[in-house]
Point group: C2
Chain length 140, copies 2
């Protein structure tokens, strides 16, 4: 596997609307997607573009959301994960597992329509890493 693009930085927030206002009004973000629900993953998300990558705002979809626990510990929100692109998710998973890393679950379809998986933070110095098969037709 070769380290691919940083697709996005995932930021947990108790309120996507308030976070959008912060990025727009304080930092001057201008390309802000419409928030949408990913009920299968228990989250509502919104992508904010920078010229070279994206910030993914993540809000719990319900109390069973995988990020509810994160927000309990960090009520204001905070950095949640980083997502790198890979050419082939199955090859990446096999490679990581062969090297002893703990891949969390099976690949599933992520926010950009291609398969994603998460790798346990213990394998990456406390950083939760998402791997995403490179989206096509996104223009970047």
């Amino acid at each position: 596997m070769t380290l691919g693009r940083l697709n996005h930085v995932g930021v947990a927030t108790p309120s996507i609307e308030r976070s959008i206002a912060m990025y727009r009004d304080l930092l001057g973000a201008t390309v802000i997607g419409a928030p949408f629900d990913l009920p299968a993953q228990g989250v509502r998300v919104c992508f904010i573009d920078t010229p070279n990558t994206q910030v993914e705002l993540i809000e719990p979809y319900d109390d069973a959301s995988p990020i509810a626990g994160y927000l309990k510990k960090n009520p204001a929100g905070g950095q949640h994960h980083v997502c790198f692109e890979v050419a082939d998710i199955d090859a990446a998973v096999a490679d990581l597992q062969a090297k002893g890393a703990t891949v969390l679950g099976e690949p599933r379809i992520g926010a950009h329509g291609t398969p994603i998986v998460f790798v346990h933070p213990k394998d990456f110095g406390g950083v939760l890493v998402e791997l995403m098969e490179t989206p096509t037709g996104e223009g970047h």
Copy 2:
């Protein structure tokens, strides 16, 4: 101010050497800078390139390091900050202060040789934001 490139994601680590090995051996990072000291900022840093941005590994330079406290709470390391580029650091600081944000200290020269400042995480939903005047001559 307009939201600029994500210059890097800052990752705190107790050991830059061990983190380099993780990014190289598990994720396939190939463009890895030589670690260097920034004693004025109390850190040792190393930049790892992705095709579109960088990961900045940050290790405490000494016990008085500003990231020593972070590592005490997160001994394995973890995501520490995100750094966005701005065209003019003084204008960005004035703009943020006019909008009520808490800029931490005066701009100082950062790891890429241009002025940087940090903004208090309370103003960005728990995310520590670094602003960096766009480096020139870096080829990206």
